[in-house]
């Protein structure tokens, strides 16, 4: 090969490689713009694995309760970091779930024991608790102090903005009970999700009309506000939201996002807790979904509750307000295993968005 041929070969390879680089592998993720949205992170006050964040009303004052093994509460109107108070009366076991109705708070506690053969802690039994005031003592519900560790127990409620629309339920195995203080009433169960009869595998519910509708999916909500009744209810299966105005006809809409674990309603957006971070999806003023999900409409959410985290729980405190004008809480947990993700341990826990701060930050 003479020098001229070598030169032609060299330039051919270079040009081909350059064209390939620029045309086949281009990607335009938003970077600098997101970095400019970042803020210095607060010290975490509610850390760890969180499964529920519920409303509770006492003497016309709205409170929020959250669990991470322990129980914390705050006045819902305290829109600032660090307002949570540890519930000094919390049960001694590991609080795994919370729910509330118009009168009572409920907790599911796990008692662990050491398995010396396997060298790990395992659940010994599960206990249901209730209490009737924010600072009151928790009482184990008679007959449900020692539920077998192998029995599935799911505690959930409507968590409606209006206290009178809050109902609480517990599924123990394939049986579903309505809760009223220390009284559990067994409900007739079926196999269908999205109706007012709970299925044997239901995990969430909403209050709509004058009934409770049960779902086999964790993400469900309505467009109820503190002053108006719901006109639509929603649940999400994967990334498809199903909405209904009458409880019998359901219409689907594809959010085109990661799997949705939780959903909250605001007057302009759905806030979605997904397996890939916090995302938002627009809806009409009537509440009909109109847009796919994205992660760049909600302040610095894309760089905090990012795709490195799964968001099990979201709650918008004032659904009548626009997304940027209401307190919103979200939880962060590892998406995948702790060793296989770029998620940071210190970020696992509760996060908040306050309009006065206009940024997401650790709570």
């Amino acid at each position: 090969m003479d020098a001229k041929m070598k030169k032609i070969f060299f330039y051919t390879v270079c040009i081909t490689a350059a064209v390939s680089l620029f045309t086949l592998t281009g990607c335009q993720g938003e970077i600098f713009n997101s970095i400019r949205e970042e803020v210095e992170l607060e010290s975490s006050t509610i850390t760890g694995d969180i499964h529920s964040l519920v409303r509770f009303t006492e003497s016309s004052t709205d409170y929020l309760f959250v669990e991470n093994g322990d129980i914390y509460y705050k006045n819902a109107s305290n829109s600032y970091h660090g307002a949570w108070t540890s519930d000094s009366n919390a049960p001694n076991d590991y609080t795994y779930m919370l729910a509330s109705d118009s009168t009572y708070m409920y907790a599911l506690g796990l008692t662990y024991t050491s398995d010396y053969t396997e060298g790990e802690n395992v659940i010994d039994h599960k206990t249901l608790y209730y209490k009737s005031s924010v600072t009151g003592a928790w009482t184990a519900i008679s007959g449900y102090e020692s539920i077998s560790s192998s029995t599935t127990v799911v505690l959930f409620g409507t968590n409606a903005p209006q206290a009178s629309h809050r109902k609480a339920y517990v599924r123990i195995g394939s049986y579903v009970y309505s809760l009223n203080g220390s009284t559990l009433t067994a409900l007739t169960t079926g196999t269908t999700s999205g109706i007012s009869t709970p299925s044997t595998t239901c995990v969430s519910c909403v209050y709509f009309g004058s009934s409770t509708y049960f779902f086999n999916y964790t993400a469900s909500t309505t467009n109820e506000t503190a002053d108006t009744a719901a006109t639509y209810m929603y649940y999400v299966n994967g990334d498809n939201v199903y909405y209904s105005a009458d409880g019998s006809t359901w219409t689907s809409y594809d959010f085109s996002c990661d799997d949705v674990y939780s959903i909250a309603y605001t007057s302009d957006y759905f806030v979605l807790g997904t397996s890939g971070g916090l995302q938002e999806a627009a809806h009409s003023s009537a509440g009909v979904p109109t847009g796919g999900a994205d992660d760049d409409s909600f302040a610095n959410a894309s760089s905090t509750l990012s795709s490195s985290y799964k968001v099990n729980v979201v709650l918008a405190v004032t659904p009548a307000n626009a997304m940027l004008n209401t307190d919103v809480y979200g939880t962060a947990n590892y998406s995948g295993t702790a060793s296989s993700t770029s998620a940071v341990f210190d970020n696992i826990g509760l996060w908040s968005y306050y309009p006065s701060r206009a940024k997401w930050n650790r709570e």
Binding site: S20, T25, E30, S34
Partner: protein, 197 residues
Amino acid sequence: MKRCLPLLLILFLAGGAYTFAADSGSGDDVHQDAPVEYKTNDTGDQYIKIAIMGVQPQNFDQQLKTGGAAELGYHRFISSLFALGFDIQFGYNPTIGSNMFTFVPMTLTGTFQPYIGRFEFPFTFGVGAALESYLSRNYFPGLVLKGQAGAFFRATESWSFGIESEYMYMPQWYRDHPEYNDYGLFLTVGLVARYHF
């Protein structure tokens, strides 16, 4: 990124192949009778540089913190004062929100290098493409322009050591979202070792 590496390798190998191909047979061109002038560097001289440096973002307020980078480069003199080459840099900057911005600029460079005695003062301009990453997002190819200046001491015939500083411009342009258009300015200062051959 995985698709990029083979292509970069091809570029690298092709460059090397061309370089050595151009060298073959040059030993026949020695003229015993010509006057000999000794220069520190001359046409055909080459060097490889290895650098570690601090990276200070210039236009991000507190959002990006001081980071670091390492650089590898190959350069070849086409005259006693001017060299062409390329640099690959691997850099990072922590963000205020405990995330990480990383970047891999790949630049073709031209270097003008005057010298005084055993001190060499390279001034370099580079243009190229960068792979920029943040969280699970990538931006590629991102334009990179950089200007570099340094001071080196030629410790031996084969080695020189010194410091070098560069100013780097990395814009991000979005075809579908022009409102996201932005740019980063970065100042680096680092220690450099160069192997001459």
